[in-house]
Symmetry: C2
Subunit: 200 residues, 2 copies
């Protein structure tokens, strides 16, 4: 009978991914060494290689899980909006709040997604890119329903990318425990979508 996998195998992988996200976000994937990651995890390099066969496999698992989580947020937000019987604009606003709440806890992962996905092998890179396209398509759908007059077929994608810009750019400047909270910033984004920056 084969010996079962240690019960904390998955938990240790999760620990490694947390450390890797921090290290890769700080130094860049290519510059970060597996030796450095092993030390950060309190493991020997050989033990680290027990959990991930290659450095690439580690990066892929990190981005695979994270992009799946982001896609799941869309479904969750739509479900929550239906439960609360929200209208279309309110459903989009709910997703914006959920996205920023996620970014608040996933800053390093988001930085790695944006800067290091291109370091993956072409096939793996394509899979992650497709996930991001699916996310954009889902948000475009919500935004088209929320603001049908402005989000014409001609402009819907550009407006979606404008929204992703506002929200995703936070990884460069917004910090948990900073003066401006992620929650307050979400409301600022929503208010700007609603009526722009002119005084009321």
């Amino acid at each position: 009978m084969a010996r079962p996998i240690a019960s904390d195998h998955g938990a240790k992988q999760g620990d490694i991914l947390d450390r890797a996200a921090e290290l890769f976000a700080q130094d860049g994937y290519a510059s970060a060494s597996m030796q450095g990651l092993a030390v950060a995890c309190g493991l020997s390099k050989a033990t680290l290689y027990h959990y991930y066969a290659t450095k690439d496999a580690l990066l892929f698992d990190l981005l695979d899980r994270y992009t799946q989580r982001l896609l799941a947020l869309v479904a969750e937000s739509e479900a929550a909006a239906q439960r609360k019987q929200l209208n279309d604009p309110a459903t989009l606003h709910e997703l914006i709040r959920q996205l920023l709440a996620t970014y608040e806890r996933a800053g390093p992962r988001h930085a790695v997604l944006l800067t290091d996905a291109k370091q993956l092998a072409p096939e793996q890179h394509a899979l992650i890119t497709q996930r991001q396209r699916d996310l954009v398509a889902a948000v475009t759908r919500l935004l088209t329903r929320a603001y049908p007059e402005r989000a014409t077929p001609e402009h819907a994608t550009a407006l979606t990318m404008m929204l992703f810009g506002m929200v995703n750019w936070t990884f460069t400047w917004l910090k948990p425990q900073g003066r401006m909270s992620y929650h307050a910033f979400a409301e600022l984004v929503i208010a700007t979508l609603e009526s722009g920056l002119q005084g009321s």
Copy 2:
């Protein structure tokens, strides 16, 4: 008597920086090799090292020049606005058009600035970071004058970063020669700042 510097020394440096921006943007600074850059430039590696003493010095020159250019845009836009006797919102809109027109031709440089500045030595990194802070401060000033009711002291920085998000994020999706032009996108950003996404 010291041998004079070749008259095309500066021009060749410019060529190298153009190729380096493309290569670094594509592969990442750490993963791109000086050998690969030399080949892309049609030079031997030794000749490349004639123009830049180290790989770091090349990256620094690239980002030093580019951030200086971005800062100069603010001064130029303000001068142009004064010449045309534009009001405060129109002055900010002029800068948004100028920024996007610059990004249209500097896509690779912008990608390198956003992803690889952290690879510089701490002192050089600090200088580039300060340039970006100066740029943010200048835009915050324009935005506060343009939209004084919304851009309160409490919210001005966050709104500025929201604007930078919309505009800077283009490096991930907007392409010269694509369906949506940089000029059209600038107008979309301006319209959103003016009145949001609700139908008029």
